[in-house]
Symmetry: none
Subunit: 440 residues, 2 copies
């Protein structure tokens, strides 16, 4: 099956937004064994949209559209495809009711132009939208049966779940071989180092394995093609063993969304709780942890303390520690972790202090220097992290990633590579020149 | 001049990489007053590439290509365009020497297939590449003079400087008008409500005005075309007056990146500080504020308090308040705001409590219900917010957006629409059935 992807929206042609939908859809279609031959972006212009639809219909079997399903007169995708594919639209009472209810729940009256979103094809079928008012739809060409158009809304938060739940199973059922993928998440090892360890494993034909680098972690995707789902899954599982062997406990998750998800689930499974004290990360750590549904079971308290006075008052960091070693020091990080743990009565405490930039750096303590501490009952681990030449955002993501990984390792009683360990009441003294540094 | 952008590369069709070049080029061309009507991605396939080149040549005056200039047999952009535009290629001795020198400097010998990169057009001209071996080039169509093709290498680090230094000045010299844009950010009013207020303003030919909806805010972009930059800017400023008049203080910024940036800058300009206490938003508010460089001047303390015991201990929320009204109530939100303000000695305090979901909702207090409180010296404002049927993330973004807007209004002494006001020690009693609700 030959496919193409068509994004409709003038904001893409102005360069206001990146076409992330095209990438998402390309990857998903490739995963289904469907070849994508073209991606096109066209604006909210009737004549040009029409010409793109006619050209795509002539050269491809499957047209996947994103955008142009909104309530305004500029939103033309549905009307244009319906005409080209010879399928009339009608008002769908059930869909209209859903849209009306959506507005009512929000304490508002549905504007009249939203009626347009309740028009659905007579022969094709609609796909429910769990995250917005515009339903998606699938048209089969009435003039050239076997050719399909799939229409999805533009916002990625609506498009992605709709594709995964409402379109992917239908496409998979049309194909004669199935693909299965397994996603390993790896942290604590950089992309090039990882490739040097597992390089030959990335050259395989089936299963394939691909590496995607993200900030502070690497994603490994293993994909197998087989006659049925069970066989493809088994091939993935077997191939994954090679990666577990090469990478050990740096593989922190299989088929999970994020490190924070793994941390919350691991803490919950062991009945453990954590409290966090943050300076340079400004609440990003508590925000990442609490973004996971159910985090309230494991997250006791998060303090975001910038000023020294607040560090003393809220966390019990000693004035002498701040005076002698400074706010950005292993000693302060350790006292923050111990202080917030005591204040909240949690099992684990985390302290992060550093210089996220762009200002505030010195030759001894440059922008990108961070100390992360994590303590359990009788021991405090401190890690020195250097994220050179990066943006404020990357420093913050990297620092919270390392802290989360330290908590995961505490909960699973794994070693803490790159960390110095201190007993409960021992000052966390770690001269910079001797301290191991983990590179962002 | 009507343009289109064509990216050549199978890796884009597989979804391995994002097409950031299309966005960069679209933005740059829009800034030059050149309309981009299409973006296309095609793979390294001779037939399909040829068909795309012929189609683009028929419908546009300027074709801007990225990618396909490498040394391998798969790299076909130059050969295909040269044939379509009737301009033969020849070996360019100077370019060959440069490529050879590039390899020598790297301590390597030039592979023979790199000779291909030294082929340049006989009638068109090459553009030097300061960051790689492939020169760019500009072809003029020998059969349809006045139509141009610009060929750029795929890697953004080569493409961007080559476009800015070697292509942009040439395009600017051909154009007789310039564009200027102004971006207004609007919060506290939904997209469809906004369109009902300013609809006719969006129909103008020059300046144009376009609306982009984001979570909890709307972006308005005004773009004017004029003979010079100063005139275009003046037209934008004048046109913006209509929007200020229609939307009042809901327009919170002009040419700024975010509400948090405006809040931090406004607080800093007035020498004010803020402290935050969060429950359902889990630190997202402190994270948004502290993501702005310089936030340490205005951000005193952020507490992320989930458990009732921690709300009492850290913020001084009364046990009776929690027992009588519950953790998700206007009374608790107000006490959180007052408590964190007192603890930090800040000018303003913010309290957010609510049900972000997916679990935890009841018929009386459904998922998506949030109370946001903001207090200054003698007064506490509380807002009831309902974000129905949305994800945890959208609830959290909407709630923090409302809270930031309340802080902005406190700092500027603006009215607080949709809020109930309570005196310093008065309980914030606001029965749900009477409370105004702002829709996320």
């Amino acid at each position: 099956m030959e496919a193409e992807i068509i994004a409709v929206g003038t904001e893409l042609l102005l360069g206001d937004i990146l076409n992330t939908n095209a990438r998402f859809l390309s990857r998903e279609l490739a995963g289904l064994g469907i070849s994508v031959h073209f991606q096109t972006v066209v604006g909210d212009n009737p004549g040009r949209l029409e010409s793109v639809v006619q050209m795509a219909r002539a050269r491809s079997d499957l047209l996947v559209f994103s955008g142009g399903l909104g309530p305004t007169k500029d939103d033309l995708t549905k009307e244009t495809v319906a005409r080209a594919f010879g399928d009339p639209l009608r008002l769908d009472a059930e869909e209209l009711e859903k849209i009306r209810a959506f507005f009512t729940a929000a304490g508002r009256t549905m504007p009249e132009n939203n009626r347009k979103q309740a028009m659905t094809p007579v022969y094709g079928r609609k796909i429910p939208n769990e995250n917005g008012t515009a339903p998606g739809m699938i048209f089969e060409d009435r003039l050239s049966p076997g050719k399909y158009a799939v229409l999805l809304p533009g916002p990625p938060k609506e498009l992605q779940p709709m594709f995964l739940n409402g379109v992917k199973p239908w496409l998979a059922a049309m194909s004669d071989s199935v693909l299965h993928s397994l996603t390993l998440r790896v942290t604590g090892i950089g992309e090039s180092h990882l490739e040097s360890k597992v390089g030959p494993l990335l050259q395989n034909a089936n299963p394939t394995a691909a590496v995607y680098a993200k900030t502070s972690e690497v994603i490994l995707r293993i994909t197998a093609k087989a006659e049925d789902e069970a066989a493809a899954e088994r091939m993935c599982q077997e191939y994954a063993q090679h990666f577990y062997k090469a990478l050990g406990d740096c593989v922190y998750a299989v088929d999970k969304d994020s490190l924070e998800q793994v941390v919350v689930e691991t803490l919950a499974a062991h009945g453990l709780t954590v409290a966090t004290a943050e300076s340079c990360t400004g609440g990003l750590l508590s925000q990442r942890i609490t973004s996971v549904p159910g985090a309230s079971e494991v997250f006791a308290y998060g303090a975001c303390t910038y000023a020294n006075g607040i560090k003393q008052k809220m966390l019990g960091v000693k004035a002498e520690t701040l005076a002698q070693y400074g706010a950005v020091s292993p000693e302060t990080a350790a006292e923050m972790a111990r202080g917030v743990r005591a204040a909240a009565g949690a099992d684990f405490g985390v302290g992060i202090t550093g210089i996220a930039g762009p200002g505030g750096g010195t030759p001894e303590k440059p922008v990108g220097l961070v100390y992360a501490a994590a303590c359990s009952g009788d021991i405090t681990y401190v890690q020195r992290l250097v994220v050179p030449g990066r943006t404020r955002e990357v420093v913050r993501i990297s620092a919270t990633q390392r802290a989360l990984e330290m908590v995961r390792r505490l909960a699973l009683k794994l070693p803490q590579p790159g960390c110095a360990a201190f007993a409960a009441e021992q000052p966390a003294h770690m001269p910079a020149e001797q301290a191991p540094a983990h590179n962002g």
